[in-house]
Amino acid sequence: AGRREGGPRISPVVAKMAAEYGIDLSKVPGTGEGGRVTKKDLLAYIERMKLQPAGVPAAPQEAELPPWEQPGTGELFRPTEEVLRAAPAPAAPP
């Protein structure tokens, strides 16, 4: 068991699970004594993280997905000059 920079105790099970899932415990809100991260807290956090967090680079198999199933960049309404600049000159239809 260890402490988080003098913070409340990290129980063995929490430490083990955090290592397994590669989770930075400072990101996990603790509801235990003095803000300690309990096992319940960690499980709830993992459950919430089950959905891929945004910004994770596209998984390889997504490459074959048709454009209308590929996730968008998530960047909404970029400045027009950036969008237009990105647009190649109108080529002949494919």
Partner: protein, 363 residues
């Protein structure tokens, strides 16, 4: 998991039992296919960076085509929302009319390149200019329907003043997403509809999400259609991926409305397997498995399977249709790309109308 569907759902209805000819049901397929291929091309153009934005009607075509065929084209009035590409195509919108808006080019018949794309507005097809603030079209559609009631009630005075009133009421169909039924506009529209027995159909496309928000976070009831009872109007649920079932339910509602028996709230269930729009990163709110499940509701293969089973479609005819549709989409893209942009100063007008051209009179 938002979708209960486990496997591919065959269409069980028979088109002839619904009064649809072979020719009509094939035309339905053509319109569904055209809408799908046009939609797919727009995604490609957006991913290539040729157009800034696209919001898609994929997964909603069964609802749009089924509803359009139940209406009396050129007579009934439609106040759509941005998923109604297939409804507009089935009512007569040409692919180039959609592409001109997508590119923001001069000649866009919907908004003269002022609105973002997918804001359908075609007066000659009785399609009223859809807005962006969700659900605003619902109480407005109730107002259009109220005017139909007023025409019948005030026929003598109107005709004496030279306004020709059609024998029957025009039916008003307005559509929206299930998320948008949380807006106050939905409540107030249905309340008016119930009190005045308006010739109105409120068609809710329940595609399980409002961008990232699943239905269980949007409302505590299982079915949107359950809310009809709260307003004293009829409610009905149908499988949005079954174009014949949609047609059947909407047709009943159209006849009910035309006969003065009031409004129907229809919930057409589907699943949006595309991202909400070209910008949306849907990995943050759902898993790939769930999306694959949702695609089993796709109206296109389900109608195609039905037509093959009813030997109305052959591989040759299917290929011909695909080729015809591809050519139409290519041509639409070419024209849109060649069309000029509006001149900058066209931004300045028209702000105020100088004459009134509102209304639909006569037959």
């Amino acid at each position: 998991m938002a979708v209960e569907v486990k496997e591919f759902l065959p269409i069980t209805q028979r088109h002839e039992d619904l009064g649809l000819s072979d020719e009509t049901v094939l035309r339905m397929y053509y319109h569904l296919l055209l809408s799908r291929r046009l939609d797919e091309r727009c995604w490609v153009l957006q991913r290539q960076g040729r157009v800034p934005f696209h919001i898609s009607g994929i997964a909603h075509e069964g609802i749009g085509v089924g509803a359009a065929y139940a209406l009396r084209k050129g007579f009934d009035i439609v106040h759509p929302y941005y998923r109604d590409l297939a409804l507009s195509i089935a009512l007569g919108m040409k692919p180039v009319e959609f592409m001109l808006a997508l590119y923001g080019k001069k000649g866009d018949p919907h908004s003269a390149a002022r609105q973002m794309p997918s804001h359908f507005s075609l007066r000659h097809l009785n399609i009223i200019a859809g807005s962006s603030p969700v659900a605003t079209q619902l109480p407005q559609a109730a107002g259009i329907a109220l005017a139909e009631v007023l025409k019948q009630k005030l026929r003598p005075q109107l005709e004496a003043a030279g306004f020709r009133v059609s024998r029957e009421m025009r039916v008003v169909l307005t559509s929206t997403g299930e998320g948008s039924t949380s807006e106050g506009d939905f409540h107030e529209a249905l309340n008016w509809a119930g009190i005045y027995k308006l010739p109105l159909i409120v068609l809710v496309h329940n595609n399980q999400y409002a961008i990232s928000v699943p239905v269980w976070k949007q409302m505590a009831v299982k079915r949107v259609a359950d809310r009809a009872a709260a307003y004293g109007i009829h409610g009905a649920v149908c499988d949005g991926g079954n174009v014949l079932e949609v047609y059947q339910v909407v047709k009943e509602a159209v006849d009910r409305a035309r006969a003065g028996e009031g409004t129907t709230l229809i919930e057409a269930v589907t699943y949006r397997w595309t991202p909400h729009s070209s910008d949306d990163d849907d990995r943050t709110y759902r898993t790939r498995e769930e999306v694959e499940q949702g695609k089993l509701r796709d109206p296109l293969p389900r109608l195609r399977d039905y037509l093959y089973r009813r030997s109305l479609l052959t591989q040759r005819l299917e290929d011909e249709l695909e080729e015809r549709v591809r050519a139409e989409v290519d041509e639409a893209q070419r024209q849109a790309e060649e069309a000029p942009y509006p001149a900058p100063e066209e931004a300045l007008a028209p702000v105020f109308a100088t004459e009134d051209r509102s209304g639909w009179w006569g037959e």
